[in-house]
Amino acid sequence: MALEVTQILLNAQSPDGSVRKQAEESLKQFQEQNAAGFLLSLAHELANNDKPAESRRLAGLVLKNSLDAKDAARKAELAQAWTALNESVKGQIKSALMSTLSSNIIDARHTSSQVIAKVSAIELPQGQWPELIGILLANMSGTGAEHPAHLKQATLETLGYVCEEVSANVLAQDQVNAILTAVVQGMNIAETNNDIRLAATQALYNALGFAHSNFENSMERDYLMRVVCEATQCPDKRVRQAAFECLVSISSTYYEKLAPYMQDVFAITSKAVREDEEPVALQAIEFWSSICDEEIEIQEEYGSDFTGDSEVQYFKFVKQALPALVPLLLETLTKQEEDQDQEDAWNLAMAGGTCLGLVARAVGDDIVPLVVPYVQDNIAKPDWRCREAATYAFGSILEGPSVEQLTPLVNHALAFMLNAMKDENNQVKDTTAWTLGRIFEFLHGPNIEVPVITPNNLPQILAVLLEKISDSPNVAEKVCGALYLLAQGYEDSGSSSPLSPFLQSIIQALLVTTDREDAGDSRLRASAYETLNEIVRCSTEDTAPVIAQLLPVIMQKLNSTLDMQLNSSDDREKQNEVQALLCGVLQVIVQKLGSSEATKHVILQCADQMMAMFLRIFASRNATVHEEAMLAIGALAYVTGSDFSKYMQEFYQYLQMGLQNFEEYQVCSITVGVVGDICRALDEKILPYCDGIMAQLLQNLSSNQLHRSVKPPIFSCFGDIALAIGEQFARYLAMAMPMLQGAAQLSAQAVSQDEEMIEYYNQLRIGILEAYSGIFQGFKNKRPDLMAPYALHILQFLESIYVDTYRDEAVTKAAVGVLGDLADTLGPSASSLLKNSTFYKGFLDTCQQSDDQSLKETADWALATINRLLTT
């Protein structure tokens, strides 16, 4: 069956576009005509040592892509296609793959490892290919003559990939043990071949998640830890890095087992941080960051009340290591790069500062005396590295220690920081602005008793920030961040905010910033606009006129983007970015001014113009722009109310387009929400558009391609539509009810311990319940009879929710609401059903005892409604 594919595969990598295209075409054709033969040919190509490395590599890649895909639906299809293949074909492919592991060509071995892992991901969970692990392990034994080093290396790599692909419960404990034994042997200090040691160490990284029972046993754990620690001392830096990665993973997976090793690990990591090459040193720092993560999580989850017999173990490793760890991290801070203002820069200094921030959160006040002297010593030194490091250290510890500890320090430092904004060095200014932002984030706001920001220093703070917002883009971006957090601290200021007198000049400065030539650098433009949004959101009624003046300015800006000259794809990208950001600002302004009767008219006056612009914007094909325009329209519909109907005829096509956007499912999801907004705005005036909308929503529900997170809001949207059009929803009942019932069954059957699934099913239930509530309430006055046939099913669904221990509060609330709606709408025709189903008493009884006031009220109402029904 196998065919000669070498030439086609080589052509497919040709620099000549037409040759390449033709080759790709032939591959596709071959695959469609004879899938089995195609895969077999690829496997043989990959296995054949006489073939060129390039064609073998591509053969493996195509093979791999025939087994796995990112998209879940496609992935399932591919797995199914593989499973359906003839057994002997699969056997031949697998043995070709296994034989490739001993090839001399490293690329071929590597590719084959990956393909084997993909096959194992399909077959092992179904109980197929049971011999795989045995064969791989057999490769590891024997002398060098029987099994050369490169075979062992490839085998270890394969074992690592297999462990990464399959979940822990697929492998039996004996298989896990045997894999670990082989891997640990490969990592051992006695192994002289560093390629093998590296492959083994990387394999261990993937296998660690399987090693729970081995970590339970102290002898095995000691051994594993010893081997890992030894590997951190390997002469080959790749092995050292991989070994530290293992330690990082162990620190989070097996935190509670680490106590006996911490002293050694501290010695190893501190040596690496001080002396080793950067990639290794970074992982050594990461180990401590990861320990901090664990301890922060323990504290967040269990608060400060640890008792001796508490189930969690909290060792306070960070606190114990503190006197040595903090100086170690402080040393790293002066190892900055010259140009680390790059957005994704990551180096020793940044990792060290990040870790210092986590340490501060883990230990709180204890860190302060260890860092303050360092800050004092260095903050005024002539070397910019010292000044930047000192500022970074100070900024890093502002979250964690108590406000009482920090307030005097910050009061003392604030004037200095403001002055340091004029430093000659760019990075010092960058970090200083960031630190000011951290001060505003953690020491400013309604909950702070002794405020650091006072009417006395606020004018000076703003003067400095507004001056420095015109500094280089990276500094300006940090200044925006500081303004953002400063404004946030004044949220809920009542009718007037301390920022009010300065609002006009802040807005002016931000607008100027958005127009800067270099606003594309350091994400400055986006930060400036989002800061503007926060300023608007937190503004108070005394500055409403200022916001009202901002509206035409933003509209003007948006309008000018529509006629922008586009000479390159860069231009288009910039147009998209700016349009999305401006739509965001409009959304916030509409929401702000539209929520008060006094200012609503400002929005209404501009509604026509705004809507016209939004409609023009939809011509762009960019997902983010669509999302933002949709959100702005949703906000606008709320303000205009039923007057929104005049825009519907034109807007409708874009609504459809949004609902059809499966690919960029966030657009779809937001559009579904906007349908709800519009339903509430238009009420029955939405009717003419409902056929189309409902048809599309039903189609979305049945699609496998649409991301599942969109489905719960679609059900809620049924409820919105039914609430708006009342008894007219009858015409969709025959289609919608089976969907709702199907989904209800799915969510009720779900017995899963996977938290993500539990969460999803809860979302789904909320959607279904909101749909039922909407439909019941919509039918209440005119066609209550229509829902009678479904009442039994709905009651059963509610009962299944009642007995589910994983239901969350929101589901409970929605369910109780539906119970009342059912009784309220169906009236006497539901009474016999209710009499026969007793669960509701227990359900409502439990809810009436809840601490949640609104749940209690809903339960009271539902019970009163049912009782009224049963007694009359």
Partner: protein
């Protein structure tokens, strides 16, 4: 092609000094979606409440339903009160009362009373002023009523009335008119409902004794409200308040009297007081028993049809039998003339249509059978056992679990010196014969760790207890072995080692071990301590 081990640390950790634009945009979009959801909820809620009003008379603002109007109205009402109670005002007391009444009505209306607006507008200081000594009873009632409603809202709002507490408590005293005392008790009860801190505060301000003294009176409405408020205060977890109560002379007798002669609603509130006393204060409980607590308690248990009454009564009985065994004897004696005796009462609850009652009754039984051998035998001979077996086979999960605790405790000797609980052969074999095994095996499979452990402990008992290796065959036949095998890979260490122990011990030492194991690994799987710790605590019912 991506390397599976991601070697770029930057992608592992978010940038510490990240640009604000990214996060802020995400946050803003989420906020927009939440706003949509809130608006939907508001529409749905409004429709529901409007309908609820159809049948209620006298709602002031039903159509159109608008929170905004009510809130504005409320602020105006508070302003008016402020004016009327200011020193410059010469208005008559009648006018003041009318203004107070208007406020109270506003605060009583709708599902979403404008409490927050009222507090924000500064209503509390005025209401405190209204409570001053020498004010008319009518004024006191209206002010206390408004405070009651404020305290029924969110906790922030409840705490807003703290400045009024000293006066509210002062008006609880004997010299107050009954309606005044009752309204003040109600407000105090709402505050107590706020939580432990609020309860401590009330105790320290001396709310306890005046409320307790109100119980001595013969005014059903007043006693009912006082009992309710009292039960809110003595909830615990500290037993201090429940003990201090008894400083009031004649309290025990009063409680018994109301329990015996009160109307149903009054009995419910008194019974809740009894619930907290019996769960927190041992010697005070003895005092109550001596004064005659048990006869009315079991009489209600045997005759009432009301869920709200049966719940506290049954809980009290459950608390009593969880204490020392003599309580159980006393209860058996008190109920001996009732149909079916004490067990007849419990069977009634076990067979109730209310899941909560079933569960509480099963819990009560499990406490009785955790006691002496004689109690176990008495229960074993009663109709309780078939009912429990039925529940174990058919009921919802939480009830099954309680039933299983009871049946499990029934099958073992009282905890003795030895580590291992000893089976009561007669009980164990009969329960197994009557088909309880599938129920326990179901629990083994449960995701609930406690239930799973309980199921395992029972299987262990069956495997060890039944003669001639009968146990292992029966367990395998009912698919218990399969359930054990699933647990061999459970995340929980205890469960996993329990399951492994059982499989090793009763289904062959080498079960599940393959040839391929290295010698060291096999050691790990078989190893472990000789006496696994899980065997302790068998009869411990949490």
């Amino acid at each position: 092609m991506l390397n599976p081990v991601d070697h770029s640390p930057a992608s592992r950790r978010d940038q510490f000094k990240a640009a604000v634009g990214n996060v802020a945009g995400e946050r803003r979009r989420k906020q927009a979606i939440i706003i949509g959801k809130e608006r939907r909820d508001a529409v749905v809620r409004a429709k529901r409440m409007r309908r609820a009003d159809d049948n209620d008379e006298g709602m002031m603002y039903d159509e159109p339903f608008s929170d905004k109007i009510i809130n504005e109205e409320t602020v105006r009402a508070v302003q008016e009160l402020k004016f009327l109670f200011s020193s410059s005002s010469k208005d008559s007391s009648q006018k003041k009362i009318e203004a107070l009444r208007k406020l109270r009505r506003l605060l009583s209306c709708s599902s979403n009373p404008p409490v927050a607006s009222a507090v924000e507008a500064g209503v509390v200081p005025i209401l405190v002023k209204c409570l001053e000594f020498g004010s008319s009873d009518e004024q006191l009632v209206e002010a206390a009523w408004s405070l009651t409603n404020i305290a029924s809202g969110d906790s922030e709002l409840t705490l807003a009335i703290l400045p009024a507490l000293p006066l509210l408590i002062a008006h609880l005293g004997e010299r107050s008119a009954a309606p005044v005392a009752e309204q003040c008790a109600w407000a105090v009860g709402n505050v107590a409902g706020e939580g432990e801190q609020a309860r401590d505060l009330l105790s320290s301000q001396g709310a306890l004794l005046p409320l307790a003294k109100l119980l001595l009176l013969n005014k059903p409405m007043l006693v009912k409200t006082a009992a309710w408020a009292l039960s809110n205060i003595i909830k615990g977890p500290s037993s201090k308040a429940a003990v201090e109560l008894f400083k009031v002379d004649g309290l025990s007798e009063a409680i018994i009297r109301h329990l015996t002669k009160g109307d149903e609603e009054l009995v419910v509130e008194i019974a809740w007081v009894v619930v907290y006393i019996t769960s927190l204060a041992e010697s005070q409980t003895k005092l109550l028993i001596k004064s005659g607590l048990l006869p009315p308690l079991v009489a209600w248990l045997s005759s009432s049809e009301s869920l709200s009454l049966l719940t506290p009564v049954l809980r009290s009985v459950g608390n009593l039998v969880a204490g020392d065994n003599s309580n159980t004897d006393a209860l058996l004696d008190a109920a001996k003339d009732l149909p079916g005796g004490l067990f007849g009462c419990l069977v009634r609850c076990l067979g109730s249509e209310h899941r909560t009652l079933q569960k509480e009754a099963a819990w009560t039984v499990s406490n009785i059978v955790a006691g002496s051998l004689q109690h176990k035998q008495l229960v074993f001979g009663s109709r309780v056992v078939p009912t429990l077996l039925h529940l174990l086979a058919t009921s919802t999960f939480d009830v099954r679990k309680e039933a299983a605790f009871a049946l499990g405790n029934l099958s073992v000797m009282p905890a003795g010196e030895s580590q291992l609980p000893q089976p009561i052969m007669e009980h164990l074999s009969m329960l197994v014969e009557r088909g309880c095994l599938p129920g326990f095996i179901n629990l083994v499979k449960s995701p609930d760790l406690e239930a799973s452990r309980l199921g395992l402990q029972f299987l262990e008992l069956v495997l060890r207890g039944l003669p001639n290796g009968q146990g292992s065959k029966l367990v395998e036949k009912e698919e218990g072995l399969a359930a054990l095998e699933v647990l061999e890979y459970h995340d929980n260490d205890d469960l996993r080692s329990m399951a492994n122990e059982l499989i090793d011990k009763y289904y062959g030492e080498d079960y599940g071990l393959e040839e391929e194991y290295g010698p060291g690994i096999a050691e790990v799987v078989r190893g472990g301590e000789e006496y696994p710790s899980w065997r302790k605590g068998w009869v411990v019912n949490s």
